[in-house]
Amino acid sequence: MASELTTQSYITHHLTNLTCGKTPSGWTCDPYKVEQMGFWAFHVDSLFWSIALGSLFVFVFRRAISKNQDASTAPSGLQNFVEMSIEFVEDNVQSLFGSVKNTLIAPLALTVFVWILLMNLMDLIPVDFLPVLAGHIAYLIAGDGVEWIKGPESLYFKVVPTTDPNITLGMAFGIFLLTIYYSITVKGFKAFIAELTLHPFGKYLIPVNFVLEMVNFIAKPVSLGLRLFGNLYAGEMIFILIALMLFFSSIPIGLMGFGLHLVWALFHILIVALQAFIFMALTIAYLAMAHETEEH
């Protein structure tokens, strides 16, 4: 890693994932060998935070009920929060799903909502805090043994998983698989294929229909994943640019950077919650579509 800190290196450092993968010379996380890894590389930082926050979600929600097993005592604190989230999700599922009974939808929506909310919230932690901390820890632990860690700043570490398109598209992909599964099981394979081929021009233009419907079909998960990624990536980018004001400018601009950071963080809370909600609502909507049996 270059020892001199420039605007470009600062931004690049913040936008690069810690990538581990297999190179011809074995497994490594060396940022200079990412090209050699090809497809089978993993963004360890994104996955770490993704799993950590998912576990936090499961832990917190499990704890809320195990602490207060019976329904005879009044709920308090954490349990109120948990029940509020569940009621919120139940309401949304009810309004979008109507009478269709599927016990998976509500837990899925809850997981998606809380998980994405937590991942988005990582954006509100000051941009340099965790990467620098992780870099120092890595240097302290592995500084001698691993040849590519030459200093605290040679470790790339992205904190917000939802600014990684792999994460958002990965979730969208999971939901895409679920929509296909439910389309086939609820409507039947034939009806599913018919839906993809017999609209909008009838049976004489099947290839055209198929191309049009496929675009429509694929666009849903792609837009679902990219919407979340785009919003959070842009938010993160602005945080990085504001942070640059603090380090590369004069004192007045630096102070303005403080103010802007506060303003943007407050505004970003809205985006964080809104994007999590949109992702959840669309997840429910797409699954509801997969359950619709009537012609449209």
Partner: protein
Amino acid sequence: MNINATLLAQAVVMIVFVAICWKYVYPPILSMMKEREKRISDGLEAAKKADDSLEEAKLAFDKELNQAKAEAAEILEKANARASQIVTDASSKAEAEAEKILTSAATTIENETNKAKEELRQQMSDIIIDTTQKILGDEISKEKHEDILKKAAEEL
């Protein structure tokens, strides 16, 4: 920012978390919430029932109280009537007694008066005779003028 196997890993991770939530997190919370909802509605129902019965008890209490009050008033009235009755009885009795005493006293007085008169008459006649005897000597004796004496006594 390139797409790589992280995508698949994340999809797998998501499926795992959704499955955990579906099996172990969501159902117990939801069932507990439903149960509590039921408990609360039961509790409200019970509270409403208790309220109703309280109202009923209050009404019964009021009724009883009013009845007791009426009874008490009645008793009081009776007692008053009786008391005045007793007073009138007593006073009329006393009056009668007084009258009786008065009459008997009047009779006694009359008798005494008559007795005294009789005695006086006797003494008078004795004195008169004595005096007359002394004046007239033996001309007049009690035995001789028995009739005249008696007549005179009666006239006195």
